[in-house]
Assembly symmetry: C2
Homo-oligomer: 363 residues x 2
């Protein structure tokens, strides 16, 4: 059974880079109980997760942040009212390119307007409003979600008192843009993508699988793989033409990781969200990182980064934090030594939990 | 006009991992004059270059190491007799999958036996023999060529007195294997590849182009691109379906780099050389890096690495050098601060030339 809830936004929802959506939906899940608007934690996700961040009585399946959210955990459901939103443009309940356009009764596909993380942030705000909340105790964003969270805090500066940004940045580096551009190209070059007009029952698989493999390469670290796989070999019988794949255990790992993903995530939604990650630039709020940070009205902030992350490298997070330190009374920066790269916040919970606990227990 | 010369090896050339080639050819170029077998420098290239490392009276076009080889340059043509070989398995004159198999009168394609860098090294040795040389003053290898050079020095320990390994390693890390495996998959998933049986006049283009883009991402560094492109934008008019590509200058750069490469390099040759790079493991010479190094009989060695290289990371080069230091009387390790990543040895000549000069002028 699903624990996903939905709001429907009345009327036209104007998009940051032009165009609008007619009465879009935003999917979300909640854990814990609202204490008169004083204890809400709002979570923005990375590119691919749904709003199902943790299990609950309504949905007992594990969520993507199962070991962070719950009774006695840093995001303590006995203390906080936790809300996780599915990003606008995604395919897990919120309106996106795979949704039906109510004006045409067909899937949007590439008629979906350009998506910006500013729109994702506004989608989160609409959920807060619909829940009757005027304030948010803490806004949290992981990876792409950290950029959505920054946008939320600058668009609605009176709403969130605290910000936690995890393995994210104020804007993407050209290296990260190049990676994502190539992932999008792998999808677009899959014949089945058909300029976005694929049959949802027969979607592109090969292109998204290649893109996911490149994703996995950038989500982990060379150091982790050296420790985990080194040069461990597979013993394979090669068929004609396939001798160029699979000598090494790391290749099988990538394959199984990619297979778990493909078919799960709509290709057009991926393209929109990936481009939105490239386009986002927090500095546009005033023209520089200093000016953008000066527009925030946060009581406290926590920037967490991982030294082995090369998709959202630590120096970007240090830079963001150093600017926050000038305008936020109580600002913190933590650089973790985890070796699992960008994905560490999903898998190195023993490293992340104490940092989250320290910050939240002082509030 | 071409300055490329060829040797033809008589009879069956047995391959390291089984099978043989019938009377294969090795292409090479030379610069300078042989001084009774005392001044030969043998160069093994990276995966994609030809033997045309520098211009000469016979071929005035610039070579891939134009600013390293010549009168007054570190590889001084007034002093040394310089030989650059095109790797066996490549497509610039040496026998490879795109060559005609004399036993069938058809292109080898995937009938080419498994290629190993041990075979590439033996190809170099055959050239030395054919030139009447018993000794080599210095063997140099860049990138993949550094592994071929190590193999040359361990297979023919009496031949080379010195080794210079540049931006290479003793064996690939799983991270680098993952990158190359994905590049090979991009090529194999191109319908035009047709299990290797493409018409040479209508070869796969899209897959190799994607693979080259991933190559460029790993040949340079995030730091260089931040300085060079930052978030510089293109101004494009989007057609339907192409709005997911080209917002940023870094994307156009990748595209133009990839276009310069595709069509130049045979796809099957690329697959064979790429897999050979993954399979090579210098440690197989005895079972460990220490034992492999102990088999060498070098007078001196120089390992040069670049700190921003993440395809052949500096810690691997430091490790190789630390083992060489135990068995080579005069061993040197230089870690350069260049920001252009793996490709630095091709473009940061002002950093590389003094290091090469220092080493060679002391010899």
């Amino acid at each position: 059974m699903s624990a996903t809830k939905y709001i429907k936004i009345d009327g036209k929802f104007p998009m940051h880079r032009g165009g609008y959506l007619e009465s879009p939906s935003i999917a979300y899940e909640t854990w814990g109980t609202d204490d008169n608007g004083k204890n809400a934690i709002l979570i923005f996700t990375g590119l691919s997760p749904s709003a199902h961040a943790s299990s609950s009585p309504e949905d007992s399946t594990s969520g993507w942040w199962e070991d962070m959210i719950g009774s006695g955990l840093p995001l303590d459901t006995d203390r906080y009212f936790i809300i996780c939103v599915n990003s606008l443009g995604s395919c897990f309940g919120s309106s996106g390119p795979a949704s039906i356009n109510p004006e045409t009764n067909r899937q949007y596909k590439l008629d979906f307007p350009v998506l910006s993380l500013e729109d994702v942030a506004k989608g989160g705000y609409e959920v807060i409003k619909a829940l009757g909340l005027k304030k948010v105790h803490t806004t949290i964003g992981c990876s792409m979600g950290g950029m959505s969270a920054l946008s939320f805090c600058v668009q609605f500066p009176e709403v969130s008192e605290r910000l936690i940004s995890i393995s994210s940045s104020a804007r993407a580096l050209p290296f990260s843009i190049a990676i994502r551009s190539l992932q999008r190209e792998m999808i677009r070059r899959d014949n089945k993508w058909s300029n976005g007009n694929y049959d949802p029952k027969d979607p592109p698989i090969e292109g998204p699988r290649l893109a996911r493999k490149l994703g996995m390469i950038t989500y982990r670290s060379a150091e982790e793989w050296e420790a985990r796989f080194a040069r461990e070999r597979n013993t394979l019988e090669y068929k004609d033409g396939d001798q160029f794949y699979g000598d090494f255990a790391v290749e099988s790992y990538l394959q199984s990781q990619a297979e778990r993903f493909t078919g799960q995530f709509d290709a057009n939604c991926y393209l929109y969200l990936s481009r939105a990650s490239d386009l986002f630039d927090f500095n546009e709020n005033g023209g520089s990182l200093a000016k953008a940070c000066a527009k925030l009205k946060l009581k406290s902030s926590l920037i967490i980064g991982v030294k082995s992350d090369f998709l959202f490298p630590i120096h970007q997070q240090e830079e963001l934090s150093s600017h926050l330190a000038k305008v936020v009374k109580d600002s913190h920066f933590v650089a973790l030594d985890c070796i699992k790269g960008h994905d560490s916040f999903l898998v190195e919970m023993d490293a992340f939990r104490p940092v989250m606990n320290d910050f939240l227990s002082n509030e």
